[in-house]
């Protein structure tokens, strides 16, 4: 047994701790995913005045377990005309980066698998892009036109929305003067960045929704158009791997939103590693908002989505960087940044309002005409 331990010059005990840590992370994330699927189904159920899952255990709590069992036991169908190698490797390419991100996302100051220091945010951003490749390959490899369309949509969408995410992350790093996640959170000890930089939160949250493909940006696997997109030919365990990656990514986006803008684990009453309760509470609150949005909005079209990315989000994220730079350079008080952020939001909100003023005015015409008709027949 010549393990490459001497090569990496780590002792056997360190190696054991690395493996144990990874396993713990894997388990924790799996539990989180199970909880998320249950929470999503239950919340959407209640939002639509249904009950959600009820038959599996108390309040349907065992539903995710039942789902997972069913998915694992299902036959794994590989289409005859698919590119076998690509078809098999695509889910791995999607799910591995999703897990890798979590190596350096801290739960509390000490509760982190490996604090990469000033590499932290850079590492997260770098790995979050790799998943796109898996989606494109999945769509292409399954030799299905819907899959191909979905894969190409995924490429277009995710790459476009990567830019605003990176820009906002840079702005936050400028504010905190660090790329270290722990330091960023500690800088927010007195006040979370959402107060000084609401523009960043909005951009990051919306672009993050698009990054993980949640409604209203679930274009690349839109069920009613391209029936699942890249995942259309996958079944059983392979599909469940995509599913796992999707929920881990959702959780990651929520966690990053919390870490970058909502003060991370800082909160009253709790100290030490107990602060992870604050962290989890905030993350789940953000997740609930994501589910809430899913229950409310229709889906955008691909051209509207791209237009939104390049005409609204990208300029807005550049604006975010510029105002942050100005604020830092002149050393203005924090409320000036808040004001500038809100001004940007207002301008964009007005622009979107004007964009929809056309359809809305036509709609108003229809309504007015209808009311005129009503009053005429009433006389």
């Amino acid at each position: 047994m010549s393990l490459p331990i001497p090569l990496l010059s780590v002792s056997l005990i360190t190696f054991f701790w690395i493996v144990a840590g990874l396993l713990a992370m894997f388990t924790a994330l799996s539990v989180v995913v199970l909880s998320l699927t249950w929470l999503e189904r239950k919340l959407l159920g209640r939002l639509q005045r249904r009950l959600g899952p009820t038959r599996t255990g108390p309040m349907g709590l065992m539903q995710p377990v039942a789902d997972a069992l069913k998915l694992i036991l299902k036959e794994d169908i590989v289409p005859t005309s698919s590119e076998k190698a690509i078809f098999w490797i695509a889910p791995v390419l999607v799910v591995v980066p999703a897990f890798m991100i979590w190596v350096t996302i801290p739960g509390t100051e000490n509760l982190v698998l490996k604090n990469l220091g000033d590499l932290g945010l850079f590492y997260i951003i770098a790995f979050s892009v790799v998943g796109i490749l898996g989606l494109v390959l999945a769509g292409w490899g399954s030799a299905n036109k819907y899959g191909t369309l979905g894969g190409l949509r995924a490429a277009a969408q995710l790459i476009s929305y990567e830019i605003p995410v990176i820009m906002v992350v840079i702005a936050v790093a400028m504010l905190a003067q660090s790329l270290n996640m722990v330091e960023i959170v500690e800088k927010q000890g007195s006040y979370p960045y959402v107060l000084v930089f609401p523009l960043g939160l909005v951009i990051f949250f919306i672009a993050g929704l698009a990054e993980v493909g949640r409604t209203p940006f679930d274009i690349y696997f839109a069920e009613s158009e391209i029936v699942g997109g890249p995942f259309v030919e996958y079944s059983g365990a392979h599909w469940s791997v995509f599913f796992l990656a999707e929920y881990i990514n959702t959780f990651a986006v929520a966690a990053l939103t919390v870490l970058l803008f909502l003060g991370g684990w800082s909160g009253p009453f709790l100290t030490g590693n107990w602060e992870i309760i604050w962290f989890l509470a905030k993350v789940y609150a953000v997740i609930l908002v994501i589910f809430w949005i899913r229950g409310t909005f229709p889906r955008l079209r691909i051209d509207q989505l791209m237009a939104f990315a390049w005409k609204v989000m990208v300029p807005l994220s550049f604006y975010a960087i510029i105002i942050t730079a100005v604020y830092l350079f002149y050393g203005w008080p924090p409320w000036t940044l808040t004001l500038m952020s809100l001004a940007g939001l207002l301008v964009v909100g007005y622009a979107i309002y004007r964009r929809f003023a056309g359809p809305a005015s036509q709609a108003a015409q229809v309504r007015a005409r209808y009311q005129a008709l009503q009053s005429r027949s009433g006389q």
Binding site: K145, P298, Q304, F356, P359, A360, A363, R369
Partner: protein, 376 residues
């Protein structure tokens, strides 16, 4: 139409992709199939294929006695059963010269309008689903379920009622019908309003639907569009007003019309029609007389004289027509239905020109087809 690209494509020549949508696609409202020629995400051409639900209803009608044909009409447009039963019964009654008891006419109108609401609720639900919103569908199905349990109390079945008879009804309404409708109406109003508020003026929904697949009045008339699809273009044409049948001339109601004839207008017109239908139901409940509802034929089988007749009525989907030829026996000699869904669907090729792939499902949804009626 462009040729189907065959063989291996090389040298990076741009070709159009052939995308087969349906009959197992979740958003084709049944078993409709479209072959799309797409250039990237743009649809350049479309070829609709129908017939996957063909059951030969019209031919089957020739083998059934007149009172059995009603069950077949239930199954043509299976979302507007009462409306279909009404138009068939009206055709046979016209040929036989039967007069329907007044109470029966009112009951028919009430049930038909409730069925129109149920059908339009399903339209809003599927429209939301096609556009990607899932909550309106649940709200609308809730309302539809309420209507259907009322139907169950009246006719004994939620969908395939077989309640109208030639010359009357199967039996009178249950005793507590008016209380049931009185309970139903506010709940239904709340459901419609909730779905309306959530969906109709939502910005994303507007962006998806407004200006998509607009059709001009001339084109709409040329294609033979009827019902909400035609009224969305601004044509004030509703058979309940234009050529009143049954007792529709005794009610006050409006005919909502759109402006541009696009998908959003088709949605809006249907939503407004639901409110109008509720008005009709309320008026009909007040006006409804007491009395007999059963047919003057008693228990005898209808046997119309030799002749032919064409009767039309306003279905939730448009103008349905029944052309009936009788040779004096107890079975129809020939029965032809003018299905509104089929005629509306004929415009799909025109409508889908230069749209996006995502629009195809929305446009198809806005036409509100029922494949049971298209294929018959």
């Amino acid at each position: 139409m462009t040729d189907i690209p065959t063989g291996v494509v090389t040298r990076g020549e741009p070709v159009e992709m052939l995308l087969n949508m349906g009959p197992q696609h979740p958003s084709t409202h049944g078993v409709f199939r479209m072959v799309l020629w797409v250039d990237g995400e743009k649809v350049t051409d479309v070829e609709p294929h129908i017939g996957y639900l063909h059951r030969g209803s019209e031919k089957l009608c020739e083998g059934e006695q007149f009172h059995q044909v009603i069950t077949l009409f239930d199954r043509m447009d299976y979302l507007a059963n009462f409306n279909n039963e009404l138009v068939y019964c009206a055709a046979v009654e016209k040929l036989m010269g039967l007069t329907v008891p007044e109470r029966a006419e009112y009951v028919r109108v009430i049930l038909c309008e409730l069925n129109r609401i149920a059908s339009h609720l399903l339209f809003v639900a599927t429209m939301g689903l096609d556009a990607g919103a899932m909550t309106p569908s649940m709200i609308c199905f809730r309302g539809r379920e309420r209507v259907q349990s009322l139907f169950e109390a009246v006719s004994g079945a939620r969908m395939m009622h077989n309640y109208f008879r030639i010359g009357g009804l199967k039996e009178d309404l249950p005793d507590n019908f008016e209380e049931m409708v009185g309970e139903l109406m506010p709940l239904l109003q709340a459901d419609i309003e909730e779905a309306d508020k959530l969906l109709t003026f939502n910005e994303i929904f507007l962006a998806r639907l407004k200006g998509v697949a607009a059709i001009s009045v001339e084109d709409a008339l040329d294609f033979g569009l009827t019902g909400p699809c035609l009224r969305a273009c601004g044509v004030d044409y509703d058979l309940r007003k234009a050529d009143p049948y049954s007792v529709y001339d005794r009610f006050e109601f409006n005919v909502p019309t759109g402006l541009d004839g696009d998908c959003w207008d088709r949605h809006f017109v249907r939503v407004q029609e639901m409110y109008e239908s509720m008005k009709i139901v309320e008026q009909a409940l007040v006006q409804m007389p007491k009395g007999n509802v059963t047919s003057s034929l008693g228990r005898r089988l209808p046997r119309p004289p030799k002749g032919e007749v064409y009767v039309r009525a306003e279905n939730p989907r448009g103008e349905i027509g029944v052309y009936l030829v009788c040779d004096g026996t107890d079975k129809p000699y020939r029965l032809k239905v003018r299905p509104p869904s089929f005629c509306n669907l004929s415009a799909i090729k025109h409508l889908l020109k230069d749209t996006w792939i995502a629009d195809t499902v929305v446009v198809l949804g806005s036409l509100d087809i029922v494949l049971g009626e298209v294929d018959r």
